[in-house]
Symmetry: C2
Subunit: 339 residues, 2 copies
Amino acid sequence: MARKITSQDVAKLAGVSQSAVSRVFTKGASVSPDMAERVRVAADTLGYRPNALARGLITGRTRIIGLVVAYLDNPFYPDAIEKLSTALQKQGYHLLIFTTGRHGIDTDRVISELLDYQVDGIITASINLSGKLTKRCAAAGIPVVLFNRGIPGSGLSAVTSDNLAGGRKAAEFLLAGGHKRLAHISGFRDASTSQDRLEGFRAALAEAGHDVHAIEDGKYDRATACEAARRLMDRPDPPDAIFVANDHMALAVMDVLRFDLKLDVPGDVSILGYDDVPMAAWPAYDLTTLRQPTRRMVQATVEELFAQLENPTRAARRIEIDGPLVVRSSARIPQGYVT
Amino acid sequence: MARKITSQDVAKLAGVSQSAVSRVFTKGASVSPDMAERVRVAADTLGYRPNALARGLITGRTRIIGLVVAYLDNPFYPDAIEKLSTALQKQGYHLLIFTTGRHGIDTDRVISELLDYQVDGIITASINLSGKLTKRCAAAGIPVVLFNRGIPGSGLSAVTSDNLAGGRKAAEFLLAGGHKRLAHISGFRDASTSQDRLEGFRAALAEAGHDVHAIEDGKYDRATACEAARRLMDRPDPPDAIFVANDHMALAVMDVLRFDLKLDVPGDVSILGYDDVPMAAWPAYDLTTLRQPTRRMVQATVEELFAQLENPTRAARRIEIDGPLVVRSSARIPQGYVT
DNA sequence: CGATGGCGTGCATAGGTATGCAAACACCCG
DNA sequence: CGGGTGTTTGCATACCTATGCACGCCATCG
């Protein structure tokens, strides 16, 4: 294993000073074309590349963004992460990734480790942050953007879809379809996404003089959602439509209804999901769902993060991106319905 | 934004030298209990944590592992990444993640950037590495482990399932089921996983006096696999069984057969997948498939990586982990078949 | 032709930590 | 009481790069 090649080595070979080498690799620095050329040649023959650590130590910018995510079994997240990573790479930034597991017990420890690496910013997905952590990040001047979760009163920027509107659209579509007993399977009780989707759903039902027929806790988990579905259908007055807080659970619910309880979807029960993950479009499910516009959400997240990097005093923003109802065949289509 | 807190600040407050502070946070260093206590207190009141960058600059160890992955739409990878991340975090390592996109054109650039960050090691998933890059990593003394792909002759360690054996098992199971025209939809032509699965399949067929009835290129891509399936069934002599190179494509093929061509699976055609992703177990598909034991593969990958870190001169290993055939209902079950 | 300004370059230092070395100290045994 | 052994501690330096400062050079302008 050869010794590491440093800017000193390049400088010696090119017959210039170390600063010169540094300047050639720092865009915006003043260098004569002549010297730039010589340094480039020397660097190439030695295979030199600037040490990002040393650079980060001095500039205070690592070009690393910390990403904290609880779990990846909901395909919405891998999709978002891939887009996020691509968008950041395009700007010369990279993702240091941390998983907390479903329980998210040690989120604080995880973020501490993230801070150790002097990340320039943090993106969290499906994660609740403690107030203490929030303060630590603020004290360190590190911007935080919450992806697909808001924490009211935290003073943190958050990017979500318009969950309230989504919940409303769900209710309106199901009501228009003539359903009478509209149930809901929620996500995490303490997740803003889940709360807002339910709240919008409830509000629209209330305006039409309805109540939410029944609510079960699905915890954004497949197995839990399956049980929730069974409990709902076990009732003396089972629902004729279920709005499920995300697609990942909705697909599970469809499986239970069809294969376990031998029910017809949407003949016996209509199912509505949330996210529009790729699988929702697969013909085996053909799930009617509310689209979360991943691309635009990712773009907004990145933009917000960079905006905060440039202007640390910038006020936190709550960005809600509206997504359409994607009508497929898992929920009864109202007569005369037009997109 | 408060100035960063350094070991100097802690030293001053505790009335000791900076080296003392460093030693308290470096395990294995000799410190008196008395001093350790005073430093700890001072550090806590100031909220000090060692700067991982500076530490990495000096020790030459960043505790960062670079992960390069092409795409995340195949759910096998998110699953593996989550396990990988958890396993590494347990050892105090973290993942810097890079995506190359399906075309993987600029893999070289991506790995260069990875090296800039002085990562301690690199894991690649579903990626082919150029020989030039391999040499660069070797020269920098950075161990590389290929996950779910081997590159013969590259001198790199690789962890895969036993793809040859898997291919054989697929053939044997389908032959035992009485199938006569056994087709294959492959992954990437230049991916060892795809080649080996086909090779094992072909070999077992040959031993039974059969040929592979037809081969189509699926490129590990859903849309491409759908077209491949249609082409296969368009033939004058369509296959009565298809071994698909991974589950992600196999599910697509099942969708095409059932919903597009109105065929029965396995009544008209048997389908066999590879991976055993979570969705393969969902009742809507209930896919018979060859399991890749993710947990053990991840464990082996991490162990191999650490082994190389400790002993840089260690020879590269090719680790193949055998996985069982998981029999479900997408392929005809041979009479009298017992697990 | 002298003054002014802008550009290109090197020197020296900073950024935060780990560690070899030597000094200080304690302790034990003969 | 002296020498040897072992443990703590501080000093100084190294890791690698970016950048403020000063200097020299050339061009430009009045």
